[in-house]
Every structure is written in structure tokens, then in C-alpha cells.
Amino acid sequence: MTTISQALAPGQLTSGRLPRATIPVFLVAASLLGFALAVLFAGGNLALAALLAYLLYLIAIEVAARIVEGSRQAADRRASNLIVGAFALALIPLGSVTWSAISKGMARFDVDYFTMSMRNVVGPGGGALHAITGTLFVTGAAAAISVPIGLLAAIYLAEYGAGKRLAKAITFFVDVMTGVPSIVAGLFAYALMTLIIGPNNGFGLSGSVALSVLMIPVVVRSSEELLRLVPNELREASYALGVPKWLTITRVVLPTAVSGIISGVILAIARVIGETAPLLVAAGFTASMNNNLFANPMMTLPVYVYDSYQHPGVDVQVYLDRAWAGALTLILIVMLLNLIGRLIARRFAPKTGH
């Protein structure tokens, strides 16, 4: 009888819950305690205070949840708290970089900066127009080289290559290319161009070739994955309508995957637009405007930032301000690219009808 009455006892489906106020109260208490400990023992180190506060909070919630809610709920809270902690940790560098770039870059984020090159500029003034146009030219040309090659390779791998030895070889070499150090890509492009046109001081297209070496594997892998995500049923539906394979790929498979492919391309561009070493070697260095991809060195933003910081003139701060403004510009360009990519992706995304 006792077992039955126990089984039927009310409250079998309920368990204790921590009151809603527990979390903010614990959070504040842990922060205060962590800060106090840090002041007492480490001279008010903020990072240490935050770490201590987080650990104290973890322990307090664990103990309280175990007592009130039971071990399963405690495990749930522990896992959520660890995940939130990891997320916050990952955001710290991002926030820090953004903040530094904005606060220090604003000093020279003015009209001159976007309308002047560094030609005949010593000391204050000058701008980065030559580097901005150079970056756009070099990266644009790199994308123009990499996207067709990468996309076609991905189409071969996903649509034609299944199980073929050539496809396996391509996949292997693409993986190897992913790991090529960027300076090697720069040296490769420089050597290649020297073989073709003879000794040179670097020029835009040479930089583009170097960036392509880095960009192609990223485009291939991301596009391949996305093409594989397109359901086979759509290919079959198209074949069953008497549509040849090449039209099925260009008119059904690619449009279905295009929004993701665009995102992948934007990511690949973002990956290479900040490359410094290969451009220093292959595209060279100049203080002047150069809108010709095929001759004479072409300045790029990463090289500009590197040079301003590494070889400042007498008034160091002026050069550092220009470097930070360059960094901020680079971040903004990447953000803008992401935004454009998202808009394009949304424009082409498969329609859900809701």
C-alpha cells in the first residue's frame, strides 16, 4: 500500500525551482565579491576580478541548484553557464579590437584621409586613397580570378567527380593549399611574374595572383559543401523533365545554392583582404596613386597600415593615427562586403512562401 500511495502522491511531477531573482542576486553578489578579492589580493586587476566573479557565480548556482532543484537541473544550469562564459570570452577580443580601431582610428577618419594619397607628404596630412583603391583593385581582381576557378572546381567535385581519382586528388591538393602560408603565396606570385615579365618591383595583378592562391581553396570547399546540400530530389525532378545535366546544374542546382555560395565568397574575400605579407612581396609599395593593375607597384591598406606603424617619420603619432585609420577603414570595408553579401543572399535565397 505504501508504494502505491507514494506513486500517487501529489507533486510527483513537480520539483523545486530557484526563485527568479536568484540569478541577478547571485550575479551581483559574485561580482562584488570577486572585485573585492581582486582589490585585496591583486591590486584591483579587472580581468582577475571578472574571472573570480564568474567562478564564484558558477559555484554558487551549482550549490543552490543542487539543493533546491536536484542534480539534473544543476547540470543543465552548469552547462548553460559554461556556454555563456565561453561566448563572452570569445566576444572579448572582438569587442576590444573594434573599440581600439574606432577610438584610435577616428583621429584621422576625415575627408583628407579618403581624398589624398601619400605622395609628397612628410609629417601630418596625407591620406590613404591610393591604398584604398589599391586594396579594392587587388582584391577585386583576386575575386575575379578565384570565383570562376573555385566555383567550377566545386561543381566538378560535387556533380561529376563522385568517387573519381581526379576528384580525390583535387580535394587533397585543395586541402594542402588551404594550409599554404600566405608569405609562400606571395613569393610564388612574385616568382611566377618574374618568370613571365622579368624582374619587377611588384604590381597589382601579381598581388591578385598571390591572393587567389589563398582564396581558391576557401571558395572550392565552401561552394562544394553548399552544392552537396542541394537535395538530390531537385536534380531528379529536373532530369525527369528531360533537362540535360549541364542545364540542371546551371538552372536548378546553382540557383538553389547561390545564397550560400555568395556568403562563402564574401568570407573568402574577407579572409584575404587583410593579408599583408604576400602583398608586400607581390604588389609592392608606393606612396602614389596607381590605378593600373598591370604595371608599377600598387599600395594596399594592410601594407599601408604596416608601413605607417613600422616606418614612422619624426612625428610618430601622425603615422600611428594614419595606421589606425587604415585599420578602421579595412574593418569597415569587410563589414560593408558582409552587408552587401547578405543583401544579395537574401535576394536570391529559396523562397519559403511564408
Binding site: A162, G163, P231, N232, E233, L234, R235, E236, A237, S238, Y239, A240, L241, G242, V243, P244, L247, T248, R251, V252, P255, T256, F348, P350, K351, T352, G353, H354
Partner: protein, 259 residues
């Protein structure tokens, strides 16, 4: 508009595995032929060989003859793309193209093949195909909305409309109702009855009542065991197969004793 299919000694292989063995049968024009049988007995595989869709599966190959009004689908120089333009197919799960509107889905066969056609003719064809698939009244006011916004049954009828917009000689249906509710199933069964006025229809189904309701001829497939090839056990007029089959296994399957 409608053609006879004669199959002689057809064997289908996946690599070295023989999936279907020695099928010989004739499918009459302007009729509904149903393939029934337990899972894995090769009826879907066999259906796919009737418009060479099995070639999409790596390693699949066919021995034997499939004659479409006397023309061998597996003869030398036959282009599978041309075969599929004459023999349309509807799949188990509705698969409208997600990037296309309802109208574009119906006209997919025209548009994807870059066939030129004045837009008034396209509108007419779309309406004709949708009326043929009993979907026109439901979608005529939202032709430019995405096809994926329709219900499952409507999507399947959209796929049928897409197939009949190509004006095929034969329509193959691979379990077209297995993902649908009874009302949508009824709509598609009614549709089959109308479509057989113009087309040769072959349907694979797991639903015995459906085979009995819609088909004129029923073919029963079976396998001897796991790993053995599927065989055509018996085919004949549906009434006969369901009331007095010649083979014991058919009767057992139909009466639900196995499978």
C-alpha cells in the same frame, strides 16, 4: 499522345548486384498500370528503367529491351534526355523547385530547356497543365508565389502539372500518394482517372486499395529473400489479380498474409 511499352527480359544491376530479374510485360496505352509488392522488391527500380532515371544512381545498368511504341529506349544512340521528355515522372515526395514560383514550376520543363515560346502561350500552357492537375482553381490567384508555400497535396499536384506540361506520352508515378493525407490522395486518384484518357500511366504503390481503385492492370513483384533479385510474379487485369490470382504468393500478399 499515348504510347505502348513493351518490356522484354529486363535485368537491372547495381554494380554486380542484380536488383531486378527477367521482367517481361506489356503496358497498354491509355490505361493505369499498378506495380505492387513488398519493400525492396525492385518495383521502383524497374519503374525508373522505363525513362532511364536509374542512370542517375551510380553503378546502375540495364540489360534487355524496353520498347516505346517499337522504339528501344536502350538502343544505340538513344539520348536519355529525349527519352525523359516523352516519359515523365512524379516522385514519392513532392519536389517543387524552391527557387521558382508556382507558374515557373509548371513551366520548368519549358524554361529549363531554354525553349522559346511567346508568353501568352506560356500562360495558356500553365493554365492547361494546372487544370489538368486539378490545381488551377486553388492557385490561379497566386501564380507568382513560391511553390513551396503550397500544402503537400497541392505540391504533389503541382509536380504532376509540371510533368504533364511537357506533354509526355507516358507518366510514371513512384508512390505519389505515400506522403499525402487521404483527401489529397483521393484528389490525385481522381486525377489519374482523368489523365488516363490521354496518357499511359504507371504507378508504384504500397497501398493495395489504391491499386484496386485506380488501376486497370496490376503487376505483382516479389523477392525470394534478402539479396535475391526482384521478379515479376504475375500481372493481369486488376479485377483478376485481386479476386482470383494464379499464383499463391500474390494471393498471400494481397490478403495481407505477408509483406
Amino acid at each position: 499522345m499515348s504510347k505502348r511499352i513493351e518490356i522484354t527480359d529486363l535485368n537491372v544491376y547495381y554494380g554486380s548486384f542484380r536488383a531486378v530479374e527477367d521482367v517481361t510485360m506489356t503496358i497498354a496505352p491509355k490505361s493505369v498500370t499498378a506495380f505492387i509488392g513488398p519493400s525492396g522488391c525492385g518495383k521502383s527500380t524497374f519503374l525508373r528503367t522505363l525513362n532511364r532515371m536509374h542512370e542517375v544512381i551510380p553503378g546502375a545498368r540495364v540489360e534487355g529491351e524496353v520498347l516505346l511504341d517499337g522504339e528501344n529506349l536502350y538502343g544505340p544512340g538513344v539520348d536519355p534526355v529525349r527519352v525523359r521528355r516523352q516519359v515523365g515522372m512524379v516522385f514519392q515526395r513532392p519536389n517543387p523547385f524552391p527557387t521558382m514560383s508556382i507558374k515557373e514550376n509548371v513551366l520548368a520543363g519549358i524554361n529549363l530547356n531554354n525553349r522559346r515560346m511567346p508568353s501568352s502561350a506560356k500562360d495558356e500552357l500553365a493554365e492547361h497543365a494546372l487544370r489538368g492537375a486539378n490545381l488551377w482553381e486553388e492557385v490561379k490567384n497566386r501564380m507568382n508565389l513560391p511553390g513551396s508555400g503550397l500544402s503537400g497535396g497541392q505540391q504533389q499536384r503541382l509536380c504532376i502539372a509540371r510533368a504533364i506540361a511537357m506533354e509526355p506520352e507516358v507518366l510514371l508515378m513512384d508512390e505519389p500518394c505515400s506522403a499525402l493525407d487521404p483527401i489529397s490522395t483521393l484528389a490525385i486518384e481522381d486525377l489519374m482517372n482523368e489523365l488516363k484518357e490521354k496518357y499511359t500511366i504507371v504507378i508504384v504503390t504500397h497501398n493495395m486499395q489504391q491499386a484496386a481503385r485506380v488501376s486497370d492492370v496490376t503487376a505483382f513483384f516479389n523477392i525470394a529473400g534478402t539479396g535475391a533479385p526482384g521478379r515479376l510474379i504475375e500481372s493481369g487485369p486488376t479485377d483478376k489479380i485481386f479476386s482470383a490470382p494464379d499464383v499463391k504468393a500474390t494471393e498471400d500478399y494481397i490478403s495481407g498474409r505477408f509483406g
